[in-house]
Symmetry: C3
Subunit: 134 residues, 3 copies
């Protein structure tokens, strides 16, 4: 079963989608299996990270901003704005797809794990994530 999730992001940052994914898994029923997420974009990505201390998300975003900066003379692809090429690289460094085992209609995440959409564009966007459960 493939379910499309829509995540509207107000700007760059990490946005937790664990509850949305859990709901899709619950609706898919009891079977043991796998939930695979796929983001249909190249300037937003997926990451599983700690959902306890929000500072982790702040630091994670700060790291990627510094590692892949806007305005780098390396970039030749600048027509779509100074934040576009960094967004592509930050996406390549994280995940386009992720798989999480499922049992009894529940995601088998570790105790401190949350699933995040990582929005890399400054202005945010309407992002589509496909969830395949089987």
């Amino acid at each position: 079963m493939i379910s499309p999730l829509v995540v509207t992001t107000p700007g760059a940052g990490l946005f937790e989608i664990t509850d949305q994914v859990a709901e899709v898994v619950r609706a898919a029923g009891d079977a043991d299996g796998l939930c695979t997420l796929f983001v249909q974009h190249t300037s937003a990505s997926l990451v599983i990270q700690e959902n306890a201390d929000p500072d982790v998300l702040v630091d994670l975003q700060a790291f990627f901003r510094r590692l892949v900066p806007e305005g780098d003379p390396l970039w030749t692809h600048v027509a779509e704005g100074p934040d576009d090429m960094p967004s592509h690289v930050r996406s390549a460094l994280t995940q386009t797809s992720l798989s999480i085992p499922v049992a009894g209609g529940r995601l088998l995440l570790g105790r401190w794990q949350g699933i995040y959409l990582f929005e890399h564009r400054r202005r945010g966007s309407r992002r589509r994530v496909l969830a395949h459960v089987r």
Copy 2:
């Protein structure tokens, strides 16, 4: 069903394999499901990126070359050539496996997404990618 794809690369760079993967998915039939790609190498990797402006690929490659340079005094593994250890690190920073949802015999890629084999060795090679569809 598992289908082996062979990609012969002329040198380092990003080589689009979307059409080859789409053909495997088409041949596998109509069922909704998932296509999982796996590259059987540790100095080439997989990435989904924008397939509209080729400058994105140029910049992506330039970024990884600078982030993980040849000749870095850090490298102790140099017996297989100056580009071998950087190739391993660049592979670790991108993907060995990728999953894409499938419906009606078609890959559910986003509008601007292409699937790329990222060859990290200077001389290129004959690369094997396994495509599992179910």
Copy 3:
């Protein structure tokens, strides 16, 4: 079928788990399919790398230590120790989940590929990896 693997790490480093995963795949029987691994932590990750020359693993670890250093003034999340936030970032840069095709009860790894748990915490830990085979 989902099998939990436990990997007790003595400290930071790359620890090969190929044999443990191969055993789970063997036990699951002959069917062609896919083995998906999922690490239930955010300060340890998964990577497929060369298993021939151990220097590759040494260099890989050295690279991530330099790229994501302890004591970086960027980090605000320091309550869990100087190695905690770097561990999260190094995990985000590598993999939380990985899928490997399977045929006849065997992992279809390339000739030089090994599966590694990448422990990022200095003190090590007891890590759980879920293996889903179907």
